[in-house]
Symmetry: C2
Subunit: 365 residues, 2 copies
């Protein structure tokens, strides 16, 4: 029986990557040590670190005026780091609130700058969750002038709500929490001032955050910024102002190489679309399952769904597990099910899941 | 030829631990996934996390009124986190400055609280570095009253300077940066208010900091403390307020189990003392080598030494490497050599190093 892991994060990594990592676990590059046992300032590690950055730059076509940082603290670390690095206490940060993570980002930003929520996720006439479009934002000219940046989360991992077009707001830098969507398809980095992502969904193991920051936003960190969170210090020290999480960085590099071998982000995007389409089709074509996100905002990465009878949730999860389909439980804050189908999930996993779902609905529904 | 890795950090991990980690890398606990691919909120991971904490508590005999936290950001993260969590801006933090790391801690603390250096490392009449004892501190009664804590670093990784007795200062909590000395021998946790350590020397891979904090020091974080650095939030959420670095936590747990299997901290301390004694003996008995730290302050973990002729440094390092003795280059700020001989380094490694040193001095000296 094949095993498929639908964890939202830490999530499965590509099988090829894991096999390579295991093979060279004890003796990396014939050094007699694991890559995790050598200095971050040693030549072999610096090469691996630089190569990982280059591969990420290649994949996302990151322009030269953006710095790429490999930091600690994950997404929540960036909730604090973004305002600390690119806003002053008297500035305003604008927030597009579309689910639980973007809400968390507002709350943390409020410690370091003034905040204003331009819109919140809502429920449409059909009872589906959606995000009001830009014409419905509440945003005065004065707020626009005071804004240091606009923050949004293009993919809400918990809620399965996506925003596919980056907001446009004149010269206000757009900051995107791409933790659960980065590298799932091509994007235009120039649309953003800062892109950040915790690693544990589409990049690597937990304990790493990747930050892509436009260089004109550097050199303005608040004086209270902890040095190890300071973008400028990190940029000036190739993310080695302090000891970076070297093993996570190395594994991320393997993932970037794997993505290139898959044909890059256009190719992976097609596969991701196909996986999501199959899963949503199964949900939509069967009255036993339900997804309550409006079509235009359905996540390609995280597909939450509920059973017609929540009393069957436990049995669903138990049987799924017995069929090699792991970690389908929805986030504790929303319940139900959630299938996270990041880059590393093969189409076979989604096929196995949809077959199981149909069989479960047929026999238990 | 055997390979021995003297890296100061990220440093070698016990061979047994690495072999176990490799064996279960792809399929941990028969789950069909790596431990790094499962949710930090899953039962199997929570068990591993709790067991690691318990094993650490057992090893250090940590009293019940101390919380153990597994956080991101390493030692430099704690340079900011300590003042943010246990001092107010108007408080005073006292600092015993004995080398480059404790100096870094003062500089970072100065962002969040007032600071006062009670003493600095100095050079004695014999030209050796040492740390003046408590009778020589500059500390007024007023400063004593305003002090929220006293910070020191019992083992300076770069300088090879150790302080073996914790300072006593009435009721002022003592904060110790034990990054390069934790678990190298028994200690009395009750002597401290906060003990912290980056993992990448004696605990596990980089990207993790372990914090042991007395519970009466919680609940007073400054409002500007980034949530993911807040001790109280971490304590109330079993270090899972945000996604922890799960793989590093797991590996640390394996190291703690390994330490128990070695006989605990008294046993490992004896081995560490023997390794250090052999290395210092070799340095002291040969005019070609020199260590400039006073006897009472010589580190058991990091042994810096210089060659009589610095022009031979490069050849020493090259030949050492060729003999399987890796990463002996001293820190870029001080030059010379440094052998880091943490818990995981077997006595055979130090024997091989001292034999090489003798041979090198004989033929090149």
């Amino acid at each position: 029986m094949q095993h498929f892991n639908f964890s939202a994060g830490p999530a499965m990594l590509p099988a090829d990557v894991m096999q390579q990592a295991q093979a060279e676990f004890l003796n990396w590059q014939n050094l007699g040590s694991s890559v995790m046992e050598i200095s971050h300032r040693s030549k072999p590690f610096i090469e691996v670190a630089a190569q990982a950055e280059q591969d990420l730059r290649d994949l996302l076509a990151i322009p030269d005026n953006y710095k790429v940082l490999f930091l600690q603290g994950g997404g929540r670390g960036q909730f604090a780091s973004v305002p600390l690095n690119i806003a002053q206490p008297t500035d305003l940060s604008l927030h597009l609130q579309s689910g639980s993570w973007s809400k968390g980002a507002v709350e943390e930003a409020a410690k370091y700058t003034r905040t204003h929520v331009v819109t919140q996720d809502a429920v449409n006439a059909a009872g589906q969750r959606y995000v009001p479009d830009q014409t419905q934002w509440t945003l005065t000219d004065e707020q626009r002038q005071q804004a240091a940046y606009l923050h949004y989360c293009p993919n809400e991992t918990v809620d399965g709500i996506a925003i596919f077009e980056p907001p446009k707001c004149d010269k206000i830098p757009v900051v995107a929490d791409m933790s659960s969507t980065i590298l799932s398809g091509p994007l235009n980095v120039s649309d953003y001032g800062v892109i950040y992502a915790s690693a544990q969904k589409n990049i690597g193991p937990s304990g790493l955050a990747v930050v892509i920051v436009r260089d004109d936003l550097l050199n303005q960190a608040q004086s209270i910024t902890p040095s190890f969170l300071n973008y400028t210090l990190a940029a000036n020290n190739d993310s080695m102002y302090n000891t970076p999480p070297t093993y996570s960085w190395y594994l991320s590099g393997l993932v970037f190489k794997w993505l290139k071998a898959q044909g890059g982000l256009s190719a992976i995007s097609q596969r991701n679309e196909a996986k999501a389409a199959l899963l949503y089709q199964t949900v939509d074509n069967n009255d036993f399952y339900h997804n309550n996100v409006a079509l235009a905002h359905r996540s390609i990465m995280n597909v939450p769904f509920t059973l017609a009878d929540p009393a069957l949730d436990k049995e669903f999860l138990m049987l799924a597990e017995a069929n090699g389909l792991a970690a389908l439980k929805g986030h504790r804050s929303v319940g139900g099910m959630r299938a996270s189908i990041y880059n590393a999930m093969p189409i076979e996993g989604v096929q196995a899941l949809t077959e199981f779902m149909q069989e479960f609905a047929r026999t238990k529904g």
